[in-house]
Every structure is written in structure tokens, then in C-alpha cells.
């Protein structure tokens, strides 16, 4: 429980000897809820969506065993760069989050934090059967069964494990969706924020973070 202790209110002595109170949850984080963003003028939005679809920056973070299928995408054989797909190491710059395979409750917490730090419009690809119905871990005590209870999912790629070709076809499907203007996951998350939060809190017992991670 040391993690929780760090987040409690405490008195801190400044360099000049003055005492002041620090409340980490309020002072270090912004607790403002996400807001629904309005798209630009339809014609401009169409152009923007074309750009978004052709420049998919994937958060380079594998959450489960499916992440082993992601590195081959950068190799000459599959070469995702030709589709405008690139890896980014930081959630701030990424716009696609691939949940690769089973999702442990412990990882879910980090996934939520990373997802909320991404800037909209953002898209989620759920990779493997585990994200759809739990797959072979359907009765595990420690993994979630359905990803879309916890965050809006744009594209599912079924399989255990899906081959890199399947992931590429998933990217193509995502592009189509974005170009049609259906990639509004970030807004959906903001609209049904209470519902998603309730689901997340139901499964994450030790909620030692702010409700929304900017």
C-alpha cells in the first residue's frame, strides 16, 4: 500500500524553511473531465480525416503476448511504414493504441492511464481473441474479458495470435473507418465517461490514481 501513502496529504518543508501542505492528487494532477470536441467544418474534417488515416502513430507498447506480432511489422517482409504507420514511444504523440492480447487487471490500470494521456482523435485496435471475449483466459481470475467495457474500441482483429498480415488488414480497416468519419472513440469516451469509469473501478480494486489522467 506504499503507493497509496505517497498520494496522501502531507506537510512539506520548502528550501527557505517554510511549511506548506501538498495534496498530490489535487496538486500534481488535473482532475478535469474529458470534453466532447466538435469536428471542424465537414469539408475540412474530411481532409483532416484523410491525413489522420494516412499517418497512424502507434503507441509502442505491448500489453500482452500479442505484442510479439508487432515488431515483424517493421521488417522488410511486412513493412508497415508504407501504409503510413509508425511507432511512437510516448502516448502524447501516439494516436493508435494496440491492445495486444490478454489484458491483466494490473496492466489495465496502466492502459487506462496511457489511453487518457493520448490526444484526440485517438483510436484503439484490439488484437486477439482475448480482448473480445477473454479467449483462452476467459475464466482467469486476473484478466478482463471484454475490452470495450473499459474503453471504446475501433477495430477488432480476431485470432490467437493474429498474423502480421491480419494486423496490416486491421490497419486498412481502421483507415477506412477514420476516412468515413467513424473514428470518434475519444468523443465516445468523453460522452460515456461515467459508465466507463464505473466499469473500470469495478474491476480495479486499488484505485490509487486520479479519475482522469491528462
Amino acid at each position: 500500500m506504499s503507493g497509496l501513502d505517497d498520494l496522501k496529504k502531507k506537510m512539506v518543508t520548502g528550501p527557505d524553511g517554510e511549511q506548506f501542505e501538498v495534496n498530490p492528487i489535487n496538486d500534481y494532477y488535473c482532475s478535469k473531465k474529458p470534453e466532447v470536441t466538435t469536428p471542424a467544418h465537414p469539408y475540412i474534417e474530411k481532409f483532416f480525416n484523410w491525413a489522420r488515416a494516412n499517418s497512424l502513430w502507434v503507441l509502442g507498447w505491448g500489453t500482452g503476448c500479442g505484442s510479439i506480432e508487432l515488431p515483424p511489422l517493421t521488417t522488410p517482409r511486412f513493412d508497415m511504414y508504407r501504409y503510413g504507420v509508425q511507432m511512437r514511444p510516448t502516448p502524447r504523440q501516439a494516436c493508435v493504441f494496440i491492445i495486444s492480447g490478454y489484458l491483466a487487471v494490473k496492466t489495465l490500470k496502466r492502459v487506462i492511464r496511457a489511453y487518457e494521456q493520448m490526444q484526440g482523435p485517438k483510436f484503439v485496435i484490439a488484437l486477439g481473441s482475448c480482448t473480445i471475449n477473454g479467449g483462452m483466459y476467459y475464466d482467469s481470475y486476473n484478466t478482463i474479458n471484454r475490452l470495450d467495457y473499459y474503453m471504446p474500441v475501433d477495430v477488432y482483429i480476431a485470432g490467437c495470435m493474429p498474423r502480421p498480415e491480419a494486423i496490416l488488414s486491421g490497419f486498412v480497416a481502421l483507415k477506412k473507418r477514420i476516412k468515413e468519419g467513424k473514428g470518434e472513440g475519444a468523443n465516445e469516451y468523453a460522452e460515456k465517461f461515467e459508465w466507463y469509469k464505473a466499469n473500470q473501478k469495478k474491476i480495479i480494486k486499488q484505485w490509487d490514481m486520479p479519475d482522469y489522467n491528462w
Binding site: G84, R88, R92
Partner: protein
Amino acid sequence: MEISLLTKILFSLLGLFIVFNYGLLQAGVMRKIVARVAGRYGIPIYQPYIDLIKNYSKRTQITHGVMFYLGPVFRFSGGIGLFFFIPMIYGSVYWQNFSFSGDIILLMYFQFFGMLGMALGAGEGGQPNSIIGISRGLAQFTAVEVPFTLAIISIAVQYDTLSVYDIVAAQQGGIQNWTLFTNPFAVIAGMFAFLGLMRHAPFNVVMAPQEIPIGPPTEYHSTYLGMLQSNRVVLHIVEAVLFMNLFFGGATSWLELIIKSFFIYFITVFIGVVFPRYRVDHTVRWFLKIPLVFGILAVLFV
């Protein structure tokens, strides 16, 4: 022939537009070349445009304070400032931008200016990776500056001027007059420094975008990142043009400028593809060994 200030400003802005687009296309071409070397098909060469539009069209962005906001602005103004004080085309009154006698001192300052702005901005971002990145970046940059400054001193003594335009003028009249042949030690030291300045492999651990510590821009996103990208493309071309002016005889037309700056930039990409990366501490030590020796030789033999 004198031209009015307004004409000068308009031509400078037009030059900036050309350099910006050329930089974006060149970035795409270079990444394509790197991909082909790796045996991949690679990105479309217009991919940098799409990335830029994508970043500018993000709907949300957050700020960590005023300095965080100003970081990319400083960086971008560093790049643009560098552009505005470099004479682009030798012998043309229209493409001299705002160069003046002694501009080389200002150009060296502008190279550092952006880094310092980023240091302040990334510091306020609060992300540990960006703070590590910026301290590595500044350490590497300081090491790179040493041979670069020695090369500049050598050239300044050789041509007895601190004006880029005069340095270009002194190199006219044939390939044998280029600094490359009249002062090879300075060129070697300068080109080593160029490798470090352009941040390609083997010296790109600071910015390595595929690694977990992405470096200074870890916390930058959306429009901020778009601004940093815009700066990057302008800066790459402008640095190449600066080195072209100093060492390779300048350019008398846009075509010559594009060909020369392409190949100067290509040197860094070529070396980056061939050689593996140095760690930052190795980089600093390396720059303080071989390029430094060449820099001192350059100053001694002028």
C-alpha cells in the same frame, strides 16, 4: 543594386516557403533511401506532409505552463532566425535574406538558441525522459560546438572576415578555390561537427524516436510537435546551406543550392546508415578527440 526593405522581406518569406517544402520533400526522400537500404519499400515521399497536417489537426492539446508553450516557439524561431541571416544565393540581391558583416557569430548563437528554448520548455513538461534527453542533447551539442567553432575560427582567419557572404565570395572562380581544398582540416572538423548537428546516426541517441526515452520532445504533442517538425525540416536545409556556404563554394542558383545541400545532407544519412550509434558519453569523448585534433590543426595551419 539596392532593393527596398519590403521586397527583401517578401523574398525572404518566399525563400522560407521554398526551403520549407524542399525540406519536407527531402526528409521524405532521405527516409525512403534509408528504408531501401534496409530492404523495405519505405514511406511515400510525401509522408512528412501528412504527418504535419495530422499533428496540426489534432483536436485536443494540453499545456504544462508558459515555458512549455514557448519551448517549440523558441526552437522554431531559432530555425527561422538561422534562415533569415544566411545568404542563400551568391550574386543575387534578392536571396541574401538579412545577412550582414559578422553574421556568422549570430548564426552560431541561433544554433544554440533553439536548444536552450527547448531545455526550458522540456524542463517545465516535468517528464523525466525529456529532462534526461535535453541534458544529453546539450552535452552533445556543447561537444559538437568545439570542433565547429575551431573550424569557423580557422576559416575566419583564412579569409579575414566574419561575413558568410564574403566567405562565399572568396571561394568563387572554380572548384579549386573551395575551402574544401584550400583548408581541408577545417572542412574535416566542420563536417564531423555537422554529423553531430544533424542528429543522424551515429549521433542520434538524443533524439532516437523509436526508443523509450524519445528525448526532449517526449511531452510534446499535437501543434507543439507540428511546430518542432516544421523547425526540423527548415533547420536541416539551413544547416546544410550554411555548410555549403562555408566549405563548398556556396551556390549561384537555386538548382545548385538544392543539389549541393542535398548531397551535404546525404553525407550524414549515408554515414548514419553505415555506422551504428554512439552512446552520448561516447559521443562527447569522441568529439573531444578526433574532430578536436582536426580543429586545432586547422587553426594552426591557416
